[in-house]
C-alpha cells in the first residue's frame, strides 16, 4: 500500500469512465443524497414546525431521537429483505435503501426544526402579533428566521448521516461511491477500497463545508451574533476592559449559564435562545 498506488488509481483513465467511473459514482451518490433529503424535508419540516409551534405531540421528537439507537446496518438489511422482494423492477435495490436513508434523515431534521421553532422567545412572538402580523407572517417573518440556525445544523447532521449510510448501502446493492469499498472488499482490491474511502470522506467534507457556508450566509446577522459582535468590537475599541470572556477562566459575565448555552459566550440573549436546543452540533466552524 503506497501513495504511488493511490496516485496511480486516481490517474488511471479507466477509473474515470463509464458506469463504474468516478464521475458517475459521485453523481449517483449525490443523487441518492439529494433525493433522500428532499423526501425527508417534506416530511420532517412541516411536522417539526407544527410540533414546535403548537407544543403538541412532543413525544414524536423524543421517539424519533430514541430510534437513532437502531443500528443503521441492521435497519438497512431488514428493510431490504422485506421490501426488496415486493418490488418487481430494477428499483428493487434502490427503493429499500432510499427508504432507510429517509428514515435516518428524518430524526435530525425533525428535532432541528422542532427545537428551532420551540426556541423562539415568546416575547418575540407576542411583539410580532402586537405589531399586527398574521399567524402566517409570524411564522415566516419571525419564527422561521429565528429557527434557521438550529434547522440548518439539523440539516448538516442529516446530510452527513445520509452520505455515510449511502456508502454502507452499497452492501445491499445500492450504487454510489460505496461500490468501490464493497466491490474492492469482495475482489480484495485494497487500493480501490482506499481510493473509494478517500472520495467518500472528501465528499462528506465538501458537503459539510458548503452547508457551513450556507449557515453563515443565510442566518440573519441579528441572530447569528455577527451584528452583536461588530457592536461589541466597537465597544471594546472604546473601552478595552468591557469585553467579557477574553479569558474564560476569570470572566465577570453577569450570566455565565446563559453564555454557556450560547457556546461562544460572545453574543447577546437573542442567540442564547436560538441555540439552546442542540449545543452539540453548533459552532463547528
Amino acid at each position: 500500500m503506497s501513495l504511488a498506488k493511490i496516485f496511480g488509481w486516481f490517474t488511471d483513465p479507466a477509473n474515470w469512465q463509464g458506469a463504474d467511473g468516478v464521475p458517475h459514482r459521485v453523481l449517483e451518490h449525490l443523487l441518492y443524497t439529494g433525493l433522500t433529503l428532499l423526501v425527508a424535508l417534506v416530511v420532517a419540516v412541516p411536522l417539526g414546525a407544527w410540533v414546535g409551534h403548537s407544543g403538541r405531540l412532543r413525544w414524536l421528537v423524543t421517539g424519533a431521537n430514541a430510534a437513532r439507537a437502531v443500528p443503521t446496518l441492521g435497519l438497512l438489511f431488514a428493510v431490504s429483505m422485506f421490501v426488496g422482494p415486493l418490488i418487481q423492477s430494477d428499483l428493487a435495490f434502490v427503493i429499500p435503501s432510499i427508504t432507510v436513508l429517509v428514515l435516518l434523515a428524518i430524526p435530525p431534521l425533525l428535532s432541528g426544526t422542532y427545537a428551532g421553532i420551540d426556541s423562539v422567545e415568546p416575547a418575540a412572538r407576542d411583539a410580532a402579533r402586537g405589531m399586527g402580523m398574521t399567524g402566517w407572517q409570524v411564522l415566516t417573518k419571525v419564527e422561521a428566521p429565528c429557527a434557521l440556525p438550529l434547522f440548518l445544523s439539523g440539516l448538516r447532521s442529516a446530510t452527513l448521516q445520509v452520505i455515510a449510510t449511502a456508502t454502507i448501502a452499497a452492501s445491499v446493492s445500492l450504487g454510489g461511491l460505496g461500490r468501490y469499498l464493497i466491490d474492492g472488499l469482495a475482489s480484495r482490491d485494497y487500493v480501490q477500497m482506499v481510493c473509494g474511502s478517500i472520495l467518500v470522506a472528501a465528499l462528506a467534507l465538501v458537503a459539510d463545508g458548503l452547508l457551513a457556508l450556507l449557515e453563515k450566509r443565510a442566518v440573519s446577522p441579528g441572530i447569528s451574533g455577527r451584528a452583536t459582535r461588530v457592536a461589541r468590537s466597537r465597544a471594546r475599541n472604546s473601552d478595552p476592559h468591557s469585553e467579557p470572556d477574553s479569558d474564560g477562566a476569570d470572566r465577570s459575565d453577569p450570566d455565565p449559564r446563559q453564555a454557556a448555552l450560547v457556546g461562544s459566550g460572545t453574543t447577546g440573549p437573542v442567540q442564547a435562545t436560538a441555540t439552546t436546543g442542540t449545543p452539540s452540533e453548533r459552532d463547528r466552524t
Binding site: 500500500m1 437513532r68 439507537a69 437502531v70 443500528p71 443503521t72 446496518l73 441492521g74 435497519l75 438489511f77 431488514a78 431490504s80 429483505m81 422485506f82 452527513l160 452520505i163 455515510a164 456508502t167 454502507i168 452492501s171 445491499v172 460505496g178 469499498l181 464493497i182 472488499l185 485494497y190 477500497m193 482506499v194 473509494g196 474511502s197 478517500i198 467518500v200 470522506a201 462528506a204 467534507l205 459539510d208 470572556d245 477574553s246 479569558d247 474564560g248 477562566a249 476569570d250 470572566r251 465577570s252 459575565d253 455565565p256 449559564r257 453564555a259 454557556a260 448555552l261 457556546g263 461562544s264 459566550g265 460572545t266 449545543p279 452539540s280 459552532d283 463547528r284 466552524t285
Partner: protein, 213 residues
C-alpha cells in the same frame, strides 16, 4: 426466539466483543477529550481550532475511516485496533465540545468562591469545575455510547467480529430472524451502556439528588 436461545453462547460472546469495541473507545475518548475540552473552555481562540478539527474528523463516514486507518496506522485491515481507534476519534470529536460546554456552564460565582478559598487552577478544575460539569459530560457520553454501538456493527462489513456479524450473516443467508436478533442485541447493549452511564453520573453527583428530594 428459539434460534436466539440455541445460539445464546455465540450471541453473548459477540456481545462481549461488541461491548469492548464500543466501550473502550468511550473511556479512551473521555480521557483525551477532558484536557482538550478544558483547553477549549479556557482559550476561546483554541476553542475554534479544536472544535473545527474534531468536527472535521467526525465528518468522515465510518466505513471509510475503518478502511483508511490501516495504512495510516500500519495495521492489518482485520485488526480490531482499527475499530477502537476509529471509535475513539468519533468519541473525542463528540466529547471535546461537551466537556468544553460542561466546564463553561459552571457558575462564575462558584468559580470565584473556589479561587477565593485558595484553589489553584488545576485543583479547581479537579475539585470544583469537573464535578459540576459531570451531568453535561454524562449527557454527551450517552450520545456517544449509543452512536458507538451502532457504528461498531458496521465494521462487520470488513469482517470484524461483533454483534454486527448476525446482521451481515443473516442478510447473506436470507435469514431474517438472525438479522432481528442482531438488531435487538445491539439495542439492548446500547441500553445497558446508557443505564451504566446514568448510574455512574448519579453516583458522582450526590448533590443533585439532595436538591431534588
Amino acid at each position: 426466539m428459539t434460534w436466539a436461545l440455541d445460539h445464546i453462547g455465540d450471541i453473548m460472546f459477540r456481545a462481549g466483543q461488541h461491548a469492548w469495541l464500543a466501550g473502550l473507545p468511550l473511556v479512551l475518548g473521555l480521557v483525551i477529550a477532558l484536557p482538550l475540552g478544558w483547553l477549549a473552555a479556557r482559550r476561546p481562540r483554541l476553542r475554534a481550532l479544536l472544535l473545527t478539527t474534531t468536527g472535521l474528523l467526525y465528518t468522515i463516514p465510518s466505513l471509510a475511516l475503518f478502511i483508511l486507518l490501516p495504512p495510516l496506522l500500519g495495521t492489518k485491515i482485520l485488526d480490531p485496533v482499527n475499530v477502537i481507534v476509529a471509535m475513539t476519534v468519533y468519541t473525542v470529536a463528540l466529547l471535546t465540545r461537551t466537556v468544553a460546554d460542561g466546564l463553561f456552564s459552571v457558575d462564575g460565582s462558584t468559580q470565584q468562591a473556589a479561587i477565593a478559598m485558595g484553589y489553584g487552577s488545576f485543583a479547581r478544575f479537579r475539585a470544583v469545575d469537573l464535578p459540576l460539569a459531570v451531568p453535561v459530560i454524562a449527557a454527551g457520553l450517552r450520545v456517544a455510547a449509543v452512536s458507538n454501538v451502532s457504528i461498531v456493527s458496521v465494521s462487520s462489513l470488513i469482517g470484524i467480529s461483533q454483534l454486527g456479524y448476525f446482521l451481515t450473516d443473516g442478510y447473506a443467508r436470507s435469514f431474517p430472524t438472525e438479522v432481528w436478533v442482531g438488531i435487538v442485541a445491539c439495542l439492548l447493549l446500547a441500553l445497558v451502556f446508557d443505564l451504566v452511564i446514568q448510574v455512574v453520573s448519579r453516583v458522582l453527583t450526590p448533590w443533585t439528588r439532595t436538591v431534588a428530594a
